[in-house]
Assembly symmetry: C2
């Protein structure tokens, strides 16, 4: 039996390291001698940047701290492995490194692009008689992977968005005695509106939730938007609006592009956006004369482990565990998917799905869950998403600030004062 | 014995309602018949916007939820009471309303400007033979009130800033295999750098903390800044920088004013700033060729009750309680101040101070605590601030999202499922 190597790829989530913890646990339970980690995913692996995870994690206390750590513990990358055809040298090098470390099980944790990497590698292995198994572990706050009911990372991002949205609504309601206060909250999502939809989870007996919610899946009309906000100003002193960074007008123009703000393009050709909230806040200030403010959740929505959802942490851990188990049972070129046979009470099961069905595909927010002429979200969505945010995971505080597992921290740090994690 | 009225003023904090809870408790313990709340502070009071708080809070369960609620429960205002001279009608109206509700004790929770309101009212009362007592309760995330060791609200904002800064550092470290990633985090603080300094509390055995910290108290040099970041790029793949929104160059120009971004001016003549982080991130992208990102904590740093500091919540509660007690004992024109005779172990005591010593004054961050040519914070500051962030207060979750006390929620909501607050 060979060794296991694990890589993390793409944007981190609050629970990306919970999947790593699950995979490590499964490997050790099954007697794998060495569990390696790639630094910075496949990009670092190609440069032979490999660490031995056994040096860092020796028992469940170590893994418990890892589960509570945001960011990619191993380092991540935004590197898309080229197709084998024409890039034989890259693949030869990669399989040479797998042999060097006696790797038999290769686990890759990421989203659509990472599943493409898993696909390419498994196909190359099959074509070249390699017995290395390649398994994908789902991960993305965007919740845009097909087949799986939802993705690890989405639940914690949703809990952060719903909680913070509710806190913003409380703060915004504090004023507005003289004229309405308007807050526009910009949430991640280039093409898919799943994250922005989660803002509706702030709605409860004690909270109206956002007044308007705009997703990229629905064409944005500046005129209609302005009219609706002016109407709200007639009877509300506090108006809070949730928008996706990727909202576009009917002709396909990004709202943020109207700001003249320069965008970055990452190596997958994705445009990095920012500023739609600012554009609309400035627009409304002029149109309504109200005090307006743009708030961007930025990367906070993907790294707020202190507010992770317990449901999400556990599912991320299980996906890592099960991906490793599947590889050990000989599966390759597949990804763990989550099924939800019942939502109330919430029941999940796990399956394994061919990565071909997942790689490079995006699952959009369903049109039938967008209501009020593209300005709100239906109860069907809330029924779908509510279970994902249930439960919390207390951080291990040290000096009042959550403690993290890091590569650079002395490894003794990870293991000292095991009984004293909660110092308060 | 007359009744009590309480008002909240200025920007909310995560613990502003803990002070309200403390004041209500003290009033009820001492047999005050009616405890009133002003809607939107003195501004709403002048319009006779008054509510009876006894309708909302009947026992400690109700007050416990209030302590966990961000935003100003009563509504706040940014209204500065004019001086009595020349505005006699305003004062006459105000004291008429006090009589209408048989108010003998007037408690006002706010910062420098609110203490000016307390001062004006107490002086007017003394000059006109009124027996109404006016007591101030300190409140500001800015920590810029004189006399008091620190202010309620600062500890929770600091805990949020330190925790979130640490999570951002984790996230930012995930990348940087090819070229450094630079994040600039913009923190509130027009003139005083207390909040930005709190970013240094993220430093621990598992975290380097921010690489550079810039406060408004120290002149900002774009050239020196650029050189320092370029140096860091030589040996670090992840660079995270904390800046105050109010940083200025030696000639007094705000860095954010270089962006051409329009500012608001509130009714106290304060300029509302934003954008210094964005200006510097764009500048560094051009200068270094690195991936840069600006992150603004915006109002999240003042409304994140889900991450409040227990030390801060308790002190805010105590300040409210003690202000009410002081008024009942006949004190007027004063504010509760916090003293810290010992920092390790942390010991606090409370005093009452003439508001004249506090109103309209700002306590700046000490120059001797700014180190490395204006780019970092000393260990002395950390010793000062560490106790403020200790301890957490678990939210009462409902459906995975914290529950809040609100005026608009059915009052039964506040009181139902008392034993079921933690539904998970």
């Amino acid at each position: 039996m060979g060794n296991v190597i694990i890589g993390q790829s793409g944007g981190p989530t609050a629970v990306i390291n919970a999947s790593l913890a699950g995979a490590i646990k499964a490997a050790k339970v099954n007697g794998i001698e060495k569990v390696y980690g790639m630094r910075h995913g496949i990009e670092g692996f190609l440069k032979d940047e490999v660490i031995l995870l056994d040096d860092y994690f020796q028992d469940m206390n170590d893994l418990s701290l890892l589960k509570r750590t945001p960011g990619a513990f191993l380092g991540s990358c935004r590197f898309k492995l080229p197709k084998a055809k024409g890039n034989e040298a890259v693949y030869a090098r990669l399989f040479e490194l797998l042999e060097k470390y006696d790797i038999e099980y290769f686990l890759y944790n990421g989203g659509n692009d990472s599943m493409d990497t898993t696909l390419q590698l498994s196909q190359y292995a099959a074509a070249h008689g390699s017995n290395v198994k390649f398994m994908g572990i789902p991960k993305t706050i965007d919740n845009d992977l097909p087949v799986t009911d939802h993705t690890p990372g989405y639940g914690s991002a949703s809990k952060y968005i719903a909680t913070t949205m509710k806190e913003i609504i409380r703060d915004n309601e504090s004023f507005g005695d003289t004229y309405p206060y308007i807050a526009i909250v910009e949430i991640m999502g280039r093409n898919a509106g799943w994250l922005t939809a989660a803002s509706a989870l702030s709605k409860a007996a004690d909270c109206t939730g956002p007044d308007l919610i705009y997703l990229p899946e629905s064409a944005f009309s500046v005129a209609d938007f302005t009219t609706r906000v002016k109407d709200l100003c007639q009877y509300k002193s506090s108006i809070v609006i949730a928008i996706s960074e990727g909202i576009r007008t009917a002709d396909g123009t990004l709202v943020c592009e109207q700001s003249g703000s320069r965008g970055f393009t990452d190596s997958f050709g994705h445009k990095t956006l920012s500023g739609a909230g600012k554009v609309l806040a400035d627009h409304l200030a002029l149109e309504t004369g109200c005090k307006t403010r743009a708030i961007e959740f930025s990367i906070l929505q993907r790294c707020a482990s202190h507010l992770a959802s317990r449901t999400d942490v556990n599912e991320a851990y299980d996906c890592g565990y099960k991906a490793c188990m599947a590889a050990l049972h000989g599966e390759t070129g597949k990804m763990i998917t989550i099924g939800v046979p019942e939502r109330e009470p919430y029941v999940v099961n796990y399956d394994i799905t061919d990565v071909k069905k997942i790689a490079n595909k995006e699952k959009m927010f369903p049109q039938e869950w967008i209501t009020n002429q593209g300005t709100y979200i239906s109860e069907d969505y809330l029924r779908y998403a509510r279970p994902f945010v249930i439960g919390d995971v207390s951080p291990y505080f040290s000096g009042g600030v959550p403690k993290h597992a890091t590569l650079s921290a002395n490894t003794n740090f990870l293991r000292n004062d095991k009984l004293g994690y909660k110092d308060e």
